[in-house]
């Protein structure tokens, strides 16, 4: 973001891009077929769901909070979609999105209104949402029947070789970028994350914008849940839970500091691609899935450490 560009931060801002480019180049050299358009499309399609989830999360992280409930919300949306498609047809999607929006808003209200720290508010709200989802689905993955599959075409289908899911993710990127760049929400989000007291003292209705950030996080999470359900043709009550760590990692690796005040959706796109390419690379190299989880934990901690401006933080809890 141009506003933040000063000589030092400029390098820090470019770092995620360099990492991504380096990873892609390395993979391109190591794996002969990697640089083909078909493979790249595959990578993009694979990244789409993770990106949408992380894009919503980045609204919350920019304001200096965290939403640990996004994956529960995504799972809820997937289950709602799968349950409603047979009876309601296409109306299942807006209902699922509304459910996500509601879950995010409630989390935000608990955090802001009751002054509960966001990690515990979202953990608890995620627990509530997860419990409801298990109850709705009877703890089973809800399969989307053959007759309802055409409804999923806008996500799961492809046109002229271009998977629709990439278009959906691009739409989410555009929406998120527009919100951050062109509306007061984006500016106030950065200001709140960088200095909440100064933003309050400037007369910005901070509580409102914080709740809005959580609401958007819920909305994007729901979209991610629908995408996941469409790809798997079933809504699983715990299907998205494995995406929590990668999605936080995507935001942080993209260059948004966990302390807030910098970054945004566009950087998260870079971060999500980095996570995705790294995972792909590890699979090519034969690193098994469990070790990948370990590596993500490590990467997450390292990225947090790198993006945090420690000089400005006196006490870390």
């Amino acid at each position: 973001m141009i506003t933040l560009a000063a000589p030092g931060p400029r390098l820090r801002a470019a770092l995620p891009m360099l990492v991504l480019a380096g990873l892609m180049a390395a993979l391109g050299l190591a794996v002969p077929g990697f640089a083909s358009p078909a493979t790249l499309l595959l990578v993009l399609a694979d990244t789409a769901t993770l990106f949408v989830l992380a894009a919503g999360l980045s609204f919350v992280i920019v304001i200096g909070s965290i939403d640990l409930g996004v994956t529960a919300t995504a799972s809820l949306a997937g289950v709602v979609t799968a349950l409603l498609l047979p009876g309601w047809g296409g109306w299942a999607f807006p209902v699922a999105l509304a459910a996500g929006l509601l879950a995010g808003t409630v989390t935000g209200l608990v955090h802001v209104g009751l002054r509960v720290p966001s990690f515990i508010a979202s953990l608890a709200a995620g627990g509530v949402v997860g419990g409801l989802t298990l109850w709705l689905s009877d703890a089973q993955a809800v399969t989307i029947g053959q007759t309802d599959r055409p409804w999923l075409d806008w996500v799961a289908g492809e046109t002229a070789g271009l998977p629709h899911i990439i278009v959906v993710a691009a739409g989410a990127l555009l929406l998120g970028w527009g919100l951050q760049r062109l509306t007061p929400l984006g500016r106030f989000g950065l200001a709140i994350g960088a200095s909440e007291p100064a933003t309050v003292a400037s007369g910005v209705r901070v509580a409102r914008y914080k709740v809005l950030a959580f609401a958007l996080s819920g909305l994007f999470a729901a979209l991610a849940g629908i995408m996941l359900a469409a790809r798997l043709t079933s809504g699983s009550p715990t299907g998205a839970s494995e995406l929590l760590l990668p999605s936080i990692a995507a935001v942080i690796v993209g260059g948004t500091a966990i302390t807030g005040g910098t970054g945004g959706v566009a950087r998260t796109a870079v971060g999500a691609l980095t996570v995705s390419v790294a995972r792909l690379g590890m699979t090519f190299l034969g690193v098994d899935a469990f070790a990948q989880q370990i590596l993500f934990g490590v990467v997450l901690i390292a990225a947090v450490a790198i993006t945090t401006d420690r000089a400005s933080v006196v006490v870390t809890k």
Partner: protein, 329 residues
Amino acid sequence: MTTTAGKGRASARLWTSVPWRALAPVVVLAALCIALGLAADNFATAGNFARIATSAAVPAVLATGVTLVILMGGIDLSVEGAMAVAAVVAALVLVAAPGALGAVAAAFAALAAGAALGAVSGAIHVGLRAPSFMVTLGTWFIGLGLAVWLVGGGTVSVRDSELRVLALVRLGGLPLSVWVALGTVLIAWVLQSRTRLGRALFAVGGGEDLAAQSGVPVGRVKVAAFALAGLCYGLGAVLAVAQLGQGNAEIGTGRLFAAVSAAVVGGTSLLGGHGGVLHSLVGVLVVVVLSNGMILLGVPPYLQQAVQGLLIIIAVAVSLDRRGQGLVK
């Protein structure tokens, strides 16, 4: 100083200094028990109370660990990861070395594994000045990954091992695991209230910068607290392996939630400095009695998680002092 005058004041103080607010969780527990006793015929039976005690054993040990960290104003989300590693390590040792000696070795190996993961969390948190929830979120998944990797994703059955003594042998009508849990809480209570480390936890929770200014080695205290918490998760894993007769990476699933809700429901402040392991014991009983009651009343099991989530929100919201101007992130 005349000691008699001091004693007179002390006894007069006893009444006024009763922390009524801190007793609220006990009142909630009592009210819950009475309500359930009236609503469900089979609640107030010796058998059911033993069942409650048995299912409270593991959460009590875990909540004790997480409380030590929360007292400092931090949080430890790595409960499930640490348990997974410890459980898998215990199970592997049991398979490799059967018999009583093997059981002892398995228990110690599990404790060591838990403590090591905790120490790593603490060291990263202190060394890199990264927020504890972020670091422990990382170590949570590192732990899970390690556990799955160690057993290749499967389950190690230790149905016939000597370790199961903890769950099968009863003393005074209760399994040994309950007594182990009680002992752990007691030791942690002594540690919290009577040792330098314990008091330092409160000092860090009450004012980290001021404590550092007065020469409290804040970094070392934090690492020690995370390591001790990890030790507790290791013990929780041992008890869980004994109860279930198997070790796998999923052994801790859902445990974080119960542990954190117990701590906050018991009245330990997430801001640090207030509460303690006895509070958390009461919190554990509230959580366990509630889910026991829900089972007796036929509430769908999956809604229990939702109820626990609500419980956390309510408990934190009630306990936080909202008059303060402080930021909530």
